[in-house]
């Protein structure tokens, strides 16, 4: 029998170089998880969530290291960028992040570390499932999104290097 979706998702994501944790679904738990992961980070930014219910990042935004100005230099020097992910893929360990709503696209791309937050019930089996009309309920599939599978990486410089143009680290927080 296959292991539960979350376990397979988690294993595949770790194989791809991400880190994964599952936390209770509360804004306090989320805020403390993000504090734990961002640690000493001096500059972090949040993208507005549109798929997760209410505003999951409300509590987190009060932290002193959160920046809100959005010049290109500021975006490019982020230590951590936090976005939601609207789906997870068990087979590949990927998360799906909308890139055309607010700043999720750039924040998930330019920050040194990307933290993606997703609801456990949005983890599906395989990438192809996403394109089924009934997959994510009535909301339907985002028009512009990216499957993110581990941090940016390259094998062009000889050995495998994690951390190229995009984030050097990917942390996934699954809301149980």
């Amino acid at each position: 029998m296959l292991a539960p979706l979350f376990e397979r998702f988690s294993r595949a994501a770790i194989d791809a170089g991400a880190t994964v944790e599952q936390i209770p679904r509360s804004s306090t738990a989320l805020a403390s998880a993000i504090r734990r992961v961002t640690g000493e980070a001096r500059r972090i930014a949040f993208a507005n969530a549109i798929d997760l219910p209410s505003d999951p990042f409300e509590e987190c935004r009060r932290a002193p290291n959160v920046v809100t100005a959005r010049s290109r230099i500021e975006l490019s020097s982020l230590d951590a960028g936090i976005t939601e992910a609207f789906a997870g893929i068990a087979r590949t360990g990927s998360v799906c992040v909308s890139v055309d709503h607010g700043e999720a696209g750039t924040i998930s791309l330019l920050a040194r570390m990307h933290i993606a937050v997703l609801a456990s019930e949005t983890i599906i089996e395989r990438p192809a499932d996403l394109f089924r009309p009934d997959c994510l309920g009535a909301k339907g599939l985002h028009r512009n999104f990216v499957f993110i599978t581990g941090p940016s990486a390259t094998a062009d410089m000889g050995p495998l290097v994690r951390g190229v143009h995009g984030p050097h680290r990917l942390h996934l927080i699954v809301l149980a």
Binding site: T92, S94, V99, H101, G102, F145, D156, G166
Partner: protein, 763 residues
Amino acid sequence: MPANISPSIPSPRSVADKSDKSALLAAIRMALQVESSAVRHNTQSFNRGRYAATSAIPDYETLKDKARAIKEDSLARLPELLAALEASVSRNGGHFHLAPTAADASRYVAEVCREAGVRLVVKGKSMTSEEIGLNRALDALGIQVVETDLAEFILQVADEQPSHIIAPAIHYSRERITALFKRSFRTDLPLATGEELTAFARGRLREKFLQADAGITGANFIAADSGTLVLVESEANIRMASLLPPLHIAIAGVEKIVPSRKDFGPFLELLAASATGQPMTSYTSVISPPLKAAPVLAEGDAPPRQFHLVLVDNGRLNLGQDECLREALYCIRCGACLNSCSNFQTVGGHAFGGETYSGGIGGTWESATRGLQNARFSELCTGCSRCVPQCPVRIDIPWLNTVLRQRLGQLDVGKRPAPNPLAPSADSGASLSRLFFARYDLLAKWGSRFPKFSNWIGQFAPARVLLERLFDVDRRRHLPLFASPTLVEASRQLRLDQPQARKDGSSRKSVLFADVFTNYGSISRGLAALRVLRALGVDVVVSNVVADGRATLSQGLIAAAARQAERTVALLRPYLKDGRDIIVVEPSVLAMFHHDYRHLLKSGPAGELLQTLRERSFEATEYVGMVLQENQINAAEVFPALRHPLGTKLFYHSHCQQKTMGCAAPTELLLRAAGFDVVTSQVECCGMAGSFGYKKDFYELSLAVAEDLFAQVRKAESGGRRILVASGTSCQEQLQAGLGRPVLHPLELLGETLRQAVVASVP
């Protein structure tokens, strides 16, 4: 040593154009001296990764069928899908341009950039943009183009062409990149690790991303009904190029269209697994540009986003009309056919490739986009077929290269290449050397009539010089000896050619096909097969000898191969009617029946028999294993390994086409079941590949390919000698050439341990 230090070694650029054969030979020498070790290391690492990743996909074969069906459907409906895509893109607010030629595509992009006042372009990896020579067109307008894929960045710095369709700088070792960067950027930084090199490049390129006025990317798949692009990458440079600047231009071949987003599914899983051996690469963007979120770069007033989709024809629509080569359009550019190719693993795409496209699939692409004469490097395809099961859209790449071989021959004699490869005149361009290798059957027939004379000639130095001059047969190669008597003659003498009715033993009836390689060359393999099968109670007879078409096909003489195929099927028909299985000793001949005949016997009575022939023909050792299993005979009792005079430890190398047909594993299983301690080779092909390694032009390459195999034997023998065993004739020759020791066929080995009494007592 960097290529540009020694004047005697050509630079990759200087051999990019291989329309002349001397450039191909120079490129092979250059690659063997400079690039081989990095290419070998990197391709083999991709190759292992792909095997691991694809074996983790539970419905891998079904996904491939789905992917193939989507591509077939899309290409069949191309005009309709192009119209739908054009409508979708403009509905989304973008611009669509169908470029008939490379020049037109470049001109369009340059014009768009000029009108938008672009000064700096960040570019993602795109083979199509290489194909159309885009950078030159933008340079000419004074627009700076920065390649941001790290491999393309290396090539831009080094001014070289790609050597691999997904890893364009695969020929660069870490050490050579360090040397290149230190020299080109005049830096004292150590740059001694992959991390340091990456950080260095990231720093330089991040600045460019933030300043760029335009981003140019390719596209892996495009949905016609929504104008959605799939962009597959790992470094995040394509995300940058498509997201940050206000202007995004995507350039792709027309063949990238699929009907709708739901058709992306199978490809998303197949592409990364087949390419880099990952379930998915770091980033797979699914976007329908222009995006709505404001471009990041803008300070103050954000200019509106602009998107242009440039679809390139440049020979593709013509390729779609080519009955033989059309399926190359299904290619999704995963590079599996490059990574699984022994020749490619040894020289890479600077030798086995053209200006843009490389490897087995590259010949057809260069031919379609730049002209047939640029496909000359496809000669490095030996037809070993290892790429065939690796292709996610099931393209028969060896067949494409065989067709190119025939057409190049016609081109060389000044004829217009015939579209129908089966037309008798289509073979007329074959060179003397090709005719020599193609008609091995005639040579062997006469050679084995006068074996003393012909075998003496084969070792007589002046004769070898002549053979080399006239027919390109390398004088350093030991030529296989002609046998007398032949297998057919010997089996008659030993009365092994008559049916043998037995009440006990196997109920199977069979015929051993006397292929030309076994009949005139290594008859002991054939005799061993007969002896073993008879001992197992199989009613086996021997057929007459007939050329099956393998030798002619390998030289691109397709029409001749088709005639031979018809004669072969005519010879085998009565045996099949009589309920006999067809047993084949030489794996490359069995591959003709299973695989290649479908191209040669499309219609007529021979074509109708093909399915039966495929189902009822077996590799000899595989067949022995089947008979044992059906009769519940224990291999260890019939073939007790301990009885073998040379011991029980062996090294087994299976034949490339045998692996592709799935009959390598049964042989290994049988040898182990008999009690042998078996170490198997872990190479795709030995490098001899039939006639390939005998040719003067490819002798060094052939032996360089075999180095891995020889090294594996030496490693396996660190604890003592092993018996060398191989199933293919030319593999045996290659192993013998490299290791100086005789090589046995599995059935010769098993035959020497046979305990007839045990079999006779089985009810």
